[in-house]
Symmetry: C2
Subunit: 254 residues, 2 copies
């Protein structure tokens, strides 16, 4: 399997989390056999891992025998969120104060992006992204910003896996277009979503350098406000935000 130089890693732990992810991706609930389709693991192995997770409360078993994410995960998520929120909220809020448009943070999660934090624009007409919401990589500014810092192999793999559904007539739908676009993103330093996700909405996204999990910050608003002039004005603030976030993630915060 072309192992290159990854760290060892405890297999059963990695597999257990893979199963949690799969259940999460399936909407929070899945049958044993469904999980078996999405993973090369043999059924007894999946079953044993799930049984373990059920035993410690991170998965619960419904009486259809299906498996769902357990309540104990909520707490862990809360703590992680609070930690990250404490770091990210002031940074995002500052972006909103300076630029007047909604700002958010998303992480790479499987073959999509997941929004983990947001600060909203004071405008009545504003972009709202629920925390926890997932979007495609190829059709969002955060997604493209993240892809731009990954190597081409990985981009290819992720996008092949997820497909390239068009959300609007402007969505990028071919790999060739996408690679051109990523080249432009790298040259520019940030990604632009030109109504590719939703008509009338334009977003600027910039990667957080050196983040533990690939991660990006974006500002979004209606095309009427998020103009090229806006982008020029926004760039240094985005740069500052990603730099601060990078530092905050790496350094302890008490």
């Amino acid at each position: 399997m072309a192992e290159t130089k990854t760290t060892p890693g405890v297999q059963s732990v990695e597999r257990a989390f893979e199963l949690l992810e799969l259940i999460g991706r399936a909407g929070g609930e899945a049958a044993l056999s469904e999980l078996a389709l999405d993973t090369p693991l043999p059924l007894p192995t999946i079953h044993r891992l799930l049984r373990t997770l059920v035993g410690i409360g991170y998965v619960r078993q419904l009486n259809n025998r299906r498996y769902a994410l357990g309540p104990r995960l909520i707490r862990l998520g809360e703590v992680a969120n609070r930690q990250l929120g404490a770091l990210s909220t002031p940074i995002l809020q500052n972006l909103v104060n300076e630029l007047g448009e909604s700002a958010s943070i998303a992480v790479l999660d499987g073959d999509m992006v997941t929004y983990i934090s947001q600060a909203q624009s004071p405008h009545a007409m504003r972009m709202i992204t629920e925390v926890g919401r997932r979007s495609s990589l190829h059709g969002t500014s955060v997604g493209k910003a993240i892809l731009a810092v990954l190597d081409n192999d990985r981009v290819q793999r992720l996008v092949n896996q997820a497909g390239m559904p068009a959300h609007t007539p402007k969505t990028i739908t071919t790999m060739h277009q996408l690679f051109d676009e990523l080249e432009a993103v790298r040259a520019r330093g940030y990604a632009i979503d030109e109504e590719e996700q939703e008509l009338g909405v334009r977003c600027l996204g910039m990667s957080v350098p050196g983040a533990p999990t690939p991660m990006a910050v974006s500002v979004s608003g209606p095309v009427t406000r998020v103009t090229d002039e806006f982008a020029s004005r926004a760039e240094p603030y985005l740069r500052a935000a990603t730099t601060q976030l990078s530092a905050a993630l790496a350094v302890t915060t008490g």
Copy 2:
């Protein structure tokens, strides 16, 4: 350690989650050596497990070398929360509609309770409990309701571990008092927090039967409204709520 008849369970997975819990309990961030104090595991083992978790993004390493919960946990927590929220919100809301006081759900989490869901009273003076907030077992109605369904050994162990700090002059502070109180809870079918957590606040708490993780529902309000008459009126609604929740947790919901 007096292993009795627990299911096998994959050790490395159990240990990995134990570490996540410990980090969470330490406020979301801990050093390797700190973790070593709270667990009998040898340092290299802890280190290897953490390295694995870092590799897959569930833990991140700060550049003090300390370990913090990673951003990927947020997503899992969100999904679990959404699932549970979908089940619990209408049930809690119904309680609020019928009784007019704030209702919440808490789970046993280590030696404390964690609130995982809430619906607020329409009154201006109302009880607000943030989701994710933790409280003591001996000083809350949910805590006492949960303890009442556990066996005495476990109660003893949990409470010894957590201690019995007094939040108000009415808080139970001795093990003897507590066991008497739990007896009363069992007889009554639900627990009462008589201003033991906060003066002026009275709560009724009832356990969810057969929950995967020990769990309880409560309604809380000012003593002036949460009278004994209120309790009599509330009991059947609480009973209905815990029964519904029990069923909803066990049965799939699409």
